[in-house]
């Protein structure tokens, strides 16, 4: 059946099987492989994308369920060569090693900062409790989100 949605601001439309999962639609049909396909059981959070601004696990969502909605993937973070502050934070604080969980971590924490620009460490840890990282032990991820929050607060003060 025909599905149409906005992905990273661009309208896409394809004929798909209803059983196609959103993660496979994004990766294979649309060709945006930044979103990672991990555990396939909604536990690991590598496949998180934003639907209408809310983080959602795309391995547990049908592509047809996203019809008519706005999807944001990790590819939308960098604009014209400039990294999103959350990406800068991950870079500054060395919040990734193998990088597999990173797309989901970035989208989950981007949504957190959009909703709560000044989160506590506990609020960050709660927000990413549905995202598994097997490299960092999470310390540097929490630190990266704090870095991004401070960077955005400083940018706001200057503006």
């Amino acid at each position: 059946m025909q599905v149409s949605m906005t992905i990273n601001g661009e309208q896409v439309s394809h004929d798909v099987e209803p059983r196609l999962l959103l993660v496979h639609y994004i990766r294979e049909t649309v060709g945006l492989t930044g979103t990672h396909w991990g555990c396939d059981t909604s536990n690991c959070g590598a496949c998180v994308v934003l639907i209408d601004g809310r983080p959602v696990k795309s391995c547990t969502t049908l592509a047809v369920m996203a019809d008519g909605h706005e999807v944001r993937t990790v590819e939308s973070l960098e604009v014209d060569g400039e990294l999103d502050p959350i990406q800068m934070g991950f870079h500054e604080r060395h919040a990734l090693q193998c990088g597999f969980c990173t797309p989901g971590m970035l989208m989950t924490t981007r949504a957190l900062l959009d909703e709560n620009p000044n989160p506590s460490d506990l609020e960050i840890r709660t927000a990413i409790s549905g995202a598994i990282c097997r490299c960092t032990g999470y310390m540097n991820i929490v630190s990266a989100v704090q870095w991004a929050a401070q960077y955005e607060a400083a940018a706001k003060r200057e503006a």
Partner: protein, 291 residues
């Protein structure tokens, strides 16, 4: 790669239309809302519906509001909105307790109360919560709607009073004075299913427990309604000794199975301890000694 078996998909544009489709398609049709219980089951081929009716656009089923002496919750209300509801936190903080420990925040953005109740997984938290607060659910079919108490809702493992051709549309909670409620859960790691969980509600009147509700998750083939404990509590003054007795009943009346989450005797013990803790906290809240 886990892929569901093929099915036909239909997006409902009205509740009446969704019910008409369910009636026409029969028992091989299933409603899908958040999909976070049903899609994993379909990926494992434990559920193989031939038709899915997507009700996510029926936003008229997404609400939490007070009407007269009741709080009404639309079946499509997401976990995240139950967690954040001030109205629920004021009258039934047991929802907030449970929502803090249901899956993780990203899953809670999608999953719904109606989906949780209808999936009726014995380890699912909201079935115990709704049982403890003596909720009623509204089930609508082609012939109109009926109201079913939680005591009659679970008819077997993963089976509820919702029949083929029907949709659960609303959950109703009575607002009565002197209420206190709490949910206690032990899990192996953040976001996991419970090893055991207990929901409790008490309604105090003049220093005694006028009414009580207690239910358990994950320690039986269905949500366990602890009617024997409720009878014990009714008409007595709240005390640690009384709650310990109720906990003893919980240990006796549950029927856990041994699995990776623990052996039977451990789960029975846990059910008792959690029942006692949930009752103690529910009573403290009823007395405004605890938030």
């Amino acid at each position: 790669m886990q892929t569901p078996a093929a099915f036909e998909y239909e997006r409902a544009t009205s509740l009446e239309g969704a019910i008409a489709s369910l009636q026409r398609l029969g028992p091989e049709a299933r409603v899908i809302a958040g999909g976070h219980s049903l899609l994993p089951m379909m990926k494992l081929r434990l559920a193989n519906p031939e038709h899915l009716i997507d009700i996510n656009d029926l936003t008229e089923l997404e609400f939490i509001r007070q009407e007269g002496g009741e709080i009404r919750i639309g079946a499509l209300t997401r976990h995240v909105d139950l967690l954040k509801s001030e109205l629920l936190a004021e009258h039934y903080p047991v929802f907030r307790d449970a929502e803090h420990v249901i899956a993780d925040p990203v899953v809670r953005n999608r999953g719904t109360i109606g989906g949780s109740l209808c999936q009726a997984d014995p380890a699912e938290d909201l079935s115990a919560v709704c049982s403890a607060v003596k909720a009623k659910v509204v089930i609508r079919g082609a012939e109109g709607e009926r109201v079913v108490g939680m005591e009659d809702f679970h008819v077997g493992p993963y089976m509820t009073a919702v029949q083929s051709g029907e949709i659960l549309t609303e959950i109703r909670l009575g607002v009565r004075p002197g209420a206190g409620s709490a949910h206690e859960k032990v899990e192996r790691r953040a976001g996991d299913w419970a090893i055991a969980a207990a929901s409790a509600a008490v309604w105090l009147h003049g220093g005694t427990i006028a009414d009580a509700g207690v239910a358990l998750s994950a320690v039986g083939l269905t949500t366990i309604h602890l009617t024997r404990a409720e009878e014990l509590l009714r008409g007595k003054a709240p005390s640690d000794e009384l709650f310990a007795q109720a906990g003893q009943i919980a240990s006796e009346d549950c029927s856990p199975g041994a699995d990776g989450r623990g052996p039977v005797d451990y789960k029975r013990h846990l059910a008792g301890v959690l029942t006692q803790r949930a009752l103690r906290r529910a009573a403290a809240r009823a007395l405004h000694e605890e938030a």
